[in-house]
Structure formats: C-alpha cells, structure tokens
C-alpha cells in the first residue's frame, strides 16, 4: 500500500515537474555551492523544518527523521505530504534506512549531521542547511533555497509572500506592546526560549516584544521561578512536555501569584511539539494562529 502511494505521488510529482520544466539549479548551502541538474523525486529530510518547507510547495518527502513518532510532524504538513517512512532520530538517523529508500536528494542539518555529511553524499546529493540553531529569518532563507532546488522557485516565492502577508495581517490583530515569553516545561526544569530562539523570532515577527535579557548568548535557557519573576513577562506561554510539569508544581506556590501574567490570567498552554520542535512556514503560521486565539479570548 505504501509503495503504491509512493508511486502515485511520484507520478503526480512527475507531471507537475514536467509542466514547470526544471533544469540545473545551483544554490549556496552551508558547505558552499550545491547544484542539481534534475528535479528530485525522492527526497529524505532529516529535520522537521525541511519537511515544512517541502510541504509549503506541495512536495512530499519519502523519508523523514521523525524520531519514530509521526505525530511530531506538524499536522498541517502531515495533511499535505501524506505518509512517509521514518528514518530514525534526528540526532542519529539510520543511514541504512535512508539508503534503502533510494533517495535522489537528502536535506540535512549542519549542526546535527555534519559528521555524516560524507556518508550521506555517497547515498545521494546532500543539501546541508542550518536548522537546529536557526532563527526565524534563517528559516525563511533556507525555505527559499529548498524551493529553488526542488524546482519550485516560483511557487516558493509566492508561498513566502503569502506567508509574510498572513503574518502581517495577524500582527495587526495582536497587541504590539505586550511582552510574550515562551517556554517548555519538563518534569523538573523549565527552559525559556529567548529572543534569539526560533519561537522568539516568530513572536517578534508578529510585532510583539520578547523580554530583553542582559545575557543573550543562549537561545534556550533553564530558568528557576525566581528568574521567571525577574523577567516577569505580560504573557507567558508554556508547552508542557510532561504532565504534571514543573510549572504545574509552581502553581501551588505563593510566589507564582506575584507574576504579572498570573495576576492578569495570561498563562496559556500550547503544544510543545509545534512550538519547540517544528520550525518553518506552516509552523510559524500555526504558532501565530495559537497566539491569535490566545489574545482574542474574551
């Protein structure tokens, strides 16, 4: 069944690509110049942000490093790309599974997969781009590169323009002065995503403020209740990886009530997977919609 789906998808892609008539393209990736003289049909991506970029122009990857959990891929992306085969964890994807998929393009992350770049190249041409440490604007640049390499430059530019419009529209409906802090909560630790992180970038792109920190060398920072008090954001958005998380434990403490966001009942919980692991055009739009729902609550 899987194979027939792939075949159908492949045929579909063929017809689409023939219509657009692609030839050799060259782009700059993290290792210098990368060119491809055909439109790739079987793409394996090793980070969620790349799957997002492919889905944005209607291309379905055959394999995703999804940590063996399909639910980690953004629902919007899942709807577009259909089924795929898992190639293992993002940190150590299984090269034999990648090879068995016979891809004609692999998209890898420079921060996680540089050590196996040479091996990946033996399997298929490998486009290596920043993903894990990327900011919001880096991500859009990477999406444009991916669009070009899969022969959908035009479609990707249109999609990016649409994205900017959408974000600008949503920004108008959001308060520009509010400081919004996002963090993921585990059983024993809260990690804040600062202004340098991807989520921080999306919040800024929506015209809102992220709390300023006097030490901005880290995008993710473990934070105690006391430090959260010092930051004291207007809005605090939490993704709970476990329930009950440390934030749930804090709620019974008297100091929790001192937080501005608590007093004004501006604590919201969102899907940590979307906000922390997924990055990309559709992920950003998903996050923006989450924020709209939050701010337009009566």
């Amino acid at each position: 069944m899987l194979i027939s789906t792939f075949k159908q998808l492949g045929l579909l892609l063929c017809s689409v690509l023939l219509a657009t008539n692609v030839h050799a393209v060259t782009v700059e990736d993290s290792k210098g110049s990368f060119s491809l003289d055909y439109a790739p049909q079987r793409i394996v991506v090793l980070e969620f942000s790349f799957a997002d970029a492919l889905a944005a122009v209607g291309v379905a990857p055959v394999g995703i490093a999804d940590d063996k959990d399909k639910n980690r891929v953004l629902p919007e992306v899942r709807d577009i790309i259909g089924d795929w085969q898992s190639v293992g964890t993002r940190s150590q994807p299984s090269l034999e599974v990648i090879a068995s998929l016979k891809p004609d393009l692999i998209i890898a992350d420079i921060s996680r997969h540089e050590a196996v770049y040479d091996d990946l190249k033996k399997i298929a041409p490998t486009l290596i781009l920043p993903s894990r440490r990327e900011t919001y604007s880096d991500n859009l640049k990477a999406a444009a590169i991916i669009g070009k390499i899969v022969g959908k430059e035009q479609a990707m530019q249109e999609r990016l323009a649409l994205h900017r419009d959408k974000m600008a529209n949503m920004a108008k409906q959001l308060p520009s002065q509010a400081t919004v802090q996002f963090g993921v909560a585990r059983a024993d630790a809260l990690f804040l995503h600062t202004a340098d992180s991807y989520a921080g970038g999306v919040i800024q792109a929506l015209g809102m403020q992220t709390p300023q920190s006097d030490r901005d060398d880290s995008a993710y920072r473990q934070t105690s209740l006391e430090q959260l008090l010092a930051i004291n954001p207007n809005y605090f958005i939490v993704g709970h990886y476990t329930q009950p998380s440390i934030v749930d434990k804090w709620q019974s403490e008297p100091l929790w009530q001192v937080l501005q966001a608590v007093q004004n009942k501006h604590i919201y919980s969102v899907n940590p997977n979307v906000w922390s692991r997924c990055r990309g055009i559709m992920a950003a739009e998903h996050m923006a919609k989450d924020l709209l729902t939050i701010f337009n609550k009566p």
Partner: protein
Amino acid sequence: MTRPFYGLTIVLAAILLLLLGWWNLFAWSVIPIQAQDVWLSLTHFDSQSISHRIVQDLRLPRLLTAMFVGACLATAGTIMQGLTRNPLAAPSVLGINAGAALGMALVSTLPILYGALSTSLAAMIGGGVAWLLVMLLGNSWRIGGNEHGRLVLAGVAISALCAALTKAVVIMEEDQAAGVLTWLTGSLADARWQTWQHYWPFALAGLFGALLLTPSLNLLQLGEEHARNLGANLLRSKLFGSFLVLLLVGTTISAVGSIGFIGLIVPHMARLLVGQDFRIFLPVAMLLGATLVTLADTLSRAISYPMETPAGAILALIGAPFFIYLVRKRTL
C-alpha cells in the same frame, strides 16, 4: 585538643555559618534584595513586597535545606570513614550516590515500579544495594594493594555501572539529553518549604543517631580485635552506622539530587581542626558541611549570573582536586 579550644572552634564555625547564611539570603539575587529587606521580611513581613516574599518563600527554605544537606552528607562521610577505617570512604566514592540516583531513576521512569515505592525509599534501597556490592567486591579480592585502594576501585566500578544504567533508563524515557544531566546533578534551586518539611525530620533523626554512634566509632578505630575485647558490639554498631548512612544520603538525594565530595572533604577538614575524637569532630564536621554547601549554593547563583549553576557541579569542581590531594598525601 583541649576543651576550650574545641568550644572556640564550634563557636567560630557557627558564626561563620550564620554569616554565610545571612549573605546567602540576599546575595546574587536576580531580583535585587537589600540586606535590610532580609531583616524586615523576618520582622515586619509585608506580603506585597516581592523581595520579602522571595526571602520568605524561596530563600529561607533553600538556605535551611542547604545547611541540612551539608550536615547530613558530612555526617554520612564521617560515619563511613569511621566504619571502614578508610580515609577515602565517602558516599560518592563508594557508590552510594550513583546507586541512589539509579534507584530514583528506576522508580520514576519505569511504569511497573511507578508509585510502588516513594522516591526517597528507592534512593535508600538503590544506595544500599550499591554500597553492599562495593563492600562485597572490595573485600573479595585480597590481591592488589591494601584495603583502601581496593574499596575505592570497587566503588568506581559500581558507580560507573549505576551511572551508565541511569543514563540508559533516562535517555530511553526522555528524548532530550538535557534531562539526564539535571537528573544527575544536585541543585538546591527547587528546594521549597514543602521539600524542607519532607526532609528535616529524617535528617534530624539521622544526625542525632550519628551523635549516639560516636563512642562506638571511636572504639572501632582501635581495630576490630581491640574493640571486641573492650566489649563493643561490632555488628550492632556497623548495622546501625550503615542504616544511618543510608538514611542520611537517601533522604538528601531524594530532596536535592546527588551532591558529591562533601562527605569526603569535610571529615578531613574537621579532623585537621580538632583531632581524631569522633565525639568532638563530628559536630564540627556537621557545621563545616553546612557552611560549605551554603557557600556553594551562594556561588551557584553567582558563577553564571543571572543563570544558575547547580550547587552539585560546583562542589564537584572543588572536591575533585581535594580528592587528588588526599590520594597523593596518603601512602597507599
């Protein structure tokens, strides 16, 4: 060692502890707290003032827990050095910390065990099993150096084993590696009144029990033969001592996580100050342990201000060179 000088040491150590404790309440705070705020929050508590509430709700339980953690671990180290007559014995060296961490990791990640045991009980059992293994392994090979070295080697092997298993259990459960490290390094940042309430009764009982044990520890230092001739019940004191060590270390680890090297360093410092008599140097060791952990906790906010560095990591950084010094000084 004359009694007056001993009294003076105790008083000085207590004053030092109080001063450091006072400093701990307001120093390196992310939200600025003045020294007088601390006083005011204790005498004229104002529930509207954030700094008062931080002192009351965060700093005080944290400080008290830090002091007890130091005292408990120093006491546990003293008892272990007394029981094994080994200057290198300490909870972290002989595998108790690693075993307790493994016990906690097992009950909180494996669904079968979930809820079957409380975490502190699991920490005690894990630590106890690890210690038993170390003693068995260390005593079973008579070749290769004296007893001190053998025990340490056995401790290292068991610690490494427990640590690897803990890592395996936690990595399979948590996808993010950061979780493993917060698991394994003790920190006082999350110590609250609730932690304190669960902790102090056991800790206090253990500390009092240790004071009762000191005469037997003194006898043990004469060697088992002599001690037996003098009418000591060796088995009873060894069992009681081991139980106390497990109680002290297990409750401490379940309250704040694994903190190493206090049990190794502090007994030596105390012995250096007031001599070999356990009845005298155990109280000094308790005070010094409390002082050291309080200091480490203050530093934990200072080192990468405004972020916090777990106190366990700082103590390990101080303790490891001391360990090297101890090893080099002794003829092994």
